[in-house]
Amino acid sequence: MKRVREYTIPIYIIAVIALSIFISCRKSDTVDQYNSVRRPANIKPDYSDTVIPPNIAPLNFTIGESGKKFLVKIYAPNGKPITVHSNNAKIKIPLKPWKRLLRENKGNKLFFDIFVYGQQKGWQKYQTISNIIANEEVDSYLVYRFMQPIHNWWVHIGIYQRNVTNYKRSLVLHGDSLNHGCINCHTFYNNTPEKMTIGIRSRKYGSATLMSSGKKVAKIGTKWGYTSWHPSGELAAYSMNKVRQFFHTNELENRDVVDLDSAIVYYILNSQEAKTVPALSRKDQLETYPTWSPDGKYLYYCNAPIPWRDRNKMPPEKYNEVQYDLMRISYDLREDKWGEPETILSAKETGLSILLPRVTPDGRYLVFSMCDYGCFPIYRTSSDLYLMDLETRRYKKMEVNSEYSESWHSFSANSRWMAFSSKKRGGLFTRTYFAYIDENGFAHKPFILPQKDPTYYDSLLHTYSVPELIMQPVPASAKAFGQAARSEKSIEVSMPITGATPTAQDPYQWQQERE
């Protein structure tokens, strides 16, 4: 007993000393003495003065100011502030406290106080950065194509889904599954992955469309181009494109694309039948980019007269004079009847080519891109996003644009969030941005998809292409998609010969792998 007491006192002393050291070493949540700097700190990515969803993953960033220690305090009117200490410029915000803070402050402002410690200047506090936390959440998943800037050859293309509320990413389908095949546009039904399609091209397995319904994946023996699901889920409209690529030698983006020919058809799920519409497959016109209105009564699309006579010559004559009009055509689902095409906005009026129309799920706005010419806005530096009020038919250039290409937009189910592709960081690599569109159609400052490593984009040689927002993750596995793609079984689709079909003998010539 006496021996125990002998040891007890030293143990207590050691414990007290250790606790004191621990307390003194523990980083303080505040900086008591600092100099104020009358400007905001440079942060990268730029997460300032923007509107963010309440369910977004932490907006990790780097501080572009020189210093030895960094401290960021994140706070809002409600809830516990978050303090992040760092010995380098990378600020990584903890997930759970972040989620809690955002959840408790919907509709409120979110503030960032940034402190930087330098040997000579001590602590410096920069002007507070603020953002607004929206009331509306963004759809939890973003599905996109991930690849390097491809020219003629492709080896590593994959479609991935990213949970935007955290940083988890999973594979939907990789080109390796198709013996280094190409994977084209992925389309979802009403922001859900209950029904989705992916176009594939493979030398070994052919061109086809994979259609998933829940966890099951079927292969349709023809490749769909740009696809849009009818809101009923009973049919999908898609384009057939004879697309060719060529290259310039004096432009920032040296790739260019032309549709030598195109048409729109629609596929009825129950009967597994593809049908054409004369107005959407005229021989002397290029029809593409179909998109349904949310009520399913109209199909919007783009249309341009074909200015060249030779449909095989590359590049065709007057390729740089092709400009598409924005059109729509009415459709009666019950009767399976189509109306007459109607011009919504003409290229003549705008002087630009109108492409990629998408209607917000609430049916209020239509967002499209316009560029100097052609059919592929991502390759046109001049491409910008425009918003049209469908009630007034007035349109305006959106506030999200830059000097580089903006295109490939999609909306969250609540119509408030738009995900789009932009090359604003340098003009070459496409990244995904989010912008909040309020009820008046005003698009707030966009922000880039957040990453766990805030320097991720600084050395990323891949592009994020065709960003699509969905509410739940894709249920079908990558393995199921791969197996379907490699399967010899496919749903054969009989294609009626139309006026747009160049040769009756080989109507699927366009669908072949090296288009």
Binding site: H248, N250, L252, D458
Partner: protein
């Protein structure tokens, strides 16, 4: 056989004279003959399916989270060391030695009294691959991991099934994570060993079934790629393919050898032979001991010789060396490499390098026809095709296009190379430079940030990033300034690109683009377009030539003679050139008139005129004149 017994069982074998001599010779062969720096240089150019190594946590964690990732990481790191030939040779030798050692340990642990020459086959197989300029690091590491763990398994020598199963499964799981299909190899090895050497069938069945089941489930149900890649430069020869498979089969042969010898030993033990007279036996034993020692010393060295004689890809080495010297701007060595080594063999890539070396040493216009030429070699037919060249052509065309000033075309090919050759540092560096020349600093920084993680090229990339911060216009960075001065401004849609447009657009931007000028004239001479040659020779006045280069004089002489007209620059034709031209013309006509044989005339004239344009113009590709 008896005298060998002591050697096999002792650890002295590791440092015995024959093994030291063998690996010393092995190292020297790899270092001086194979030259690992050429294999490093081939990454992303000739070897397209390779694994780049990136510093930092990103790549490390990426490897740690993949099946087989750790071996990939180590292999990628060690591959970078090939940049320095002596170090690369050490690494290859070390792997060879470890494989040999593992084999020897298997023999030692099983107390097998059998020749150890089989163990020397491992280094030989590795040498087959590297002497053929294939990169076997990943496969060799995978096999090494499997065999090393197998050695540990034998050493543990657990008798009961449960203990052995636990050990096996632990080792299997470890190898599965670390090396992917290395685990499968280990599983089958262990099963084969149990069956043939230990005669424990239950063990054998358990191990083999486990290995095959895991393989099936992984690859078919979960689609986890277990195959370890090996890096291919060109379609491998049959010998190389066999050697790669032999690396997997060899340990089974060693085990089989052990099993056979143990079986023979058991038979001998049951039927002892009568001894002969003591005196005669001891004399025979000494002779035999001496002979076997000599043989065990010589045989492995002979094995190296035989291996090299069968597998050494001399021509591939010359092509690689030419590319290497061209890339590192050692132009004289490009020419020497050809003259010393190639003889009468023609290679389009070497021809391309030769022409570039001649240009850079100021000899393109005067010595081009001293070398075999083809019309495709100068530009590698990169003009106006719009198609995609084969991987080895990528780097050469990119390099040429950048030097000429066709940055957009170079950029396009660099992207193709980046996509197909797994982020080759050369492609990334090229894209960074092009974007800097085009004042796209933000994009250039992305490429440089990637390059800054490269072990070899990282320092240069970081220096350039700092320079961009201090001098965004890069006014004090001559390479970028030079690119800006020669970059073509014309918009050529590549599918309609003509050779004329290819060159003229460059000269339009910068009339002092000497490379464009000389290549253009060379192109016209090679393709026999003398009208265009004559039309553009006048640009000579834009440069400071002491005198009109020899081949241009010859071309002009041929042109004037064929058109029977004059030319503004005909006063540049020297009397010697005219004499040579006249002599050639007279002799050629005389020979052709005399016996009508084109071939005979060519043979007769090549000694004196083989290095002239006149000869090429009539007879095509000339022989090399030293």
């Amino acid at each position: 056989m008896e005298p060998l017994k002591e050697k096999v069982f002792t650890k002295r074998q590791v440092l015995s004279l024959d093994s030291v001599a063998f690996f010393a010779v092995f190292y020297l062969c790899v270092w001086l003959l194979v030259e690992p720096r050429l294999i490093y240089h081939a990454f992303g150019r000739f070897i397209i399916d390779w694994t780049p190594f990136l510093t930092g946590w990103g790549f490390f964690l990426e490897c740690l989270t993949k099946i087989g990732g750790p071996i990939v990481y180590v292999s990628a790191f060690l591959s970078q060391c090939f940049y320095f030939s002596p170090i690369g040779a050490i690494i290859i030798t070390a792997i060879a030695w470890l494989l040999w050692l593992a084999c020897m340990r298997i023999l030692a642990l099983t107390k097998a009294c059998c020749p150890s020459l089989l163990c020397y086959l491992y280094p030989a197989l590795l040498l087959v691959g590297y002497a053929s300029y294939q990169h076997l690091m990943l496969r060799a590491m995978s096999v090494l991991a499997a065999v090393a763990v197998f050695v540990l398994y034998i050493k543990a020598d657990i008798r009961n099934l449960i203990g052995a199963a636990v050990l096996f499964l632990t080792a299997f799981a470890f190898l599965y994570y670390v090396g992917g299909n290395a685990a499968i190899l280990f599983g089958l090895l262990a099963g084969f060993y149990e069956l043939t050497v230990k005669s424990r069938k239950r063990f054998a069945i358990l191990f083999c079934v486990t290995a095959l089941a895991v393989y099936y489930v992984s690859t078919n149900l979960f689609e986890i790629p277990l195959h370890i890649k090996w890096h291919i430069s060109r379609p491998p020869s049959r010998l190389v393919t066999c050697s790669l498979y032999a690396m997997y089969i060899l340990p089974f042969l060693v085990i089989l050898e052990i099993a056979v010898y143990k079986h023979v030993a058991r038979i001998k033990a049951n039927n002892p032979k009568k001894h002969s007279a003591k005196g005669r036996d001891s004399k025979n034993s000494r002779v035999w001991a001496f002979t076997s020692q000599v043989l065990s010393f010589i045989a492995p060295l002979v094995l190296i010789g035989v291996t090299l004689s069968l597998s050494y890809a001399k021509r591939d080495k010359i092509v690689l060396k030419s590319d290497y010297y061209s890339y590192t701007k050692q132009w004289q060595k490009v020419l020497e490499n050809y003259q010393e080594n190639l003889g009468d063999i023609y290679d389009i890539f070497i021809n391309h390098d030769i022409n570039k070396a001649l240009y850079h040493t100021g000899q393109l216009g005067s010595r081009m026809f001293s070398y075999k030429q083809s019309t495709e070699a100068l530009l590698l037919s990169g003009v106006g095709t719009g198609g995609v060249p084969s991987p080895p052509k990528f780097a050469k065309m990119i390099y040429m296009l950048i030097e000429l000033g066709h940055l957009a075309d170079a950029e396009r090919l660099a992207f193709e190379m980046m996509e197909t050759a797994n982020q080759s540092p050369f492609a990334i560096e090229t894209l960074a430079m092009i974007n800097l020349a085009e004042k796209q600093n933000e994009t250039a920084k992305i490429f440089l940030n990637v390059l800054s993680k490269d072990l070899i090229h990282g320092a240069a990339a970081r220096r350039l990033l700092r320079q961009i911060e201090n001098d965004p216009e890069l006014i004090s960075y001559p390479p970028v300034q030079h690119l800006r001065s020669i970059a073509s401004q014309a918009d050529q849609i590549d599918l309609s690109y003509s050779a004329d447009a290819f060159f003229l657009s460059l000269l339009q931007k910068n009339p002092q683009n000497q490379m464009a000028f000389e290549y253009m004239l060379s192109f016209y001479l090679l393709t026999g377009q003398l009208n265009k040659f004559a039309k553009n020779i006048g640009r000579l006045n834009d440069f400071h030539y002491d005198k009109m280069p020899q081949h241009y004089q010859e071309g002009l002489a041929v042109y004037i003679s064929s058109t029977k007209g004059g030319h503004a620059l005909q006063h540049h034709l020297s009397p010697q050139t005219m004499q040579t031209f006249n002599r050639f013309t007279a002799n050629c006509m005389s020979l052709l008139a005399k016996n009508g044989s084109y071939k005979a005339a060519k043979e007769a004239l090549k000694a004196e005129f083989g290095d002239t344009f006149m000869f090429y113009n009539i007879f095509g590709m000339p022989r090399v004149k030293k």
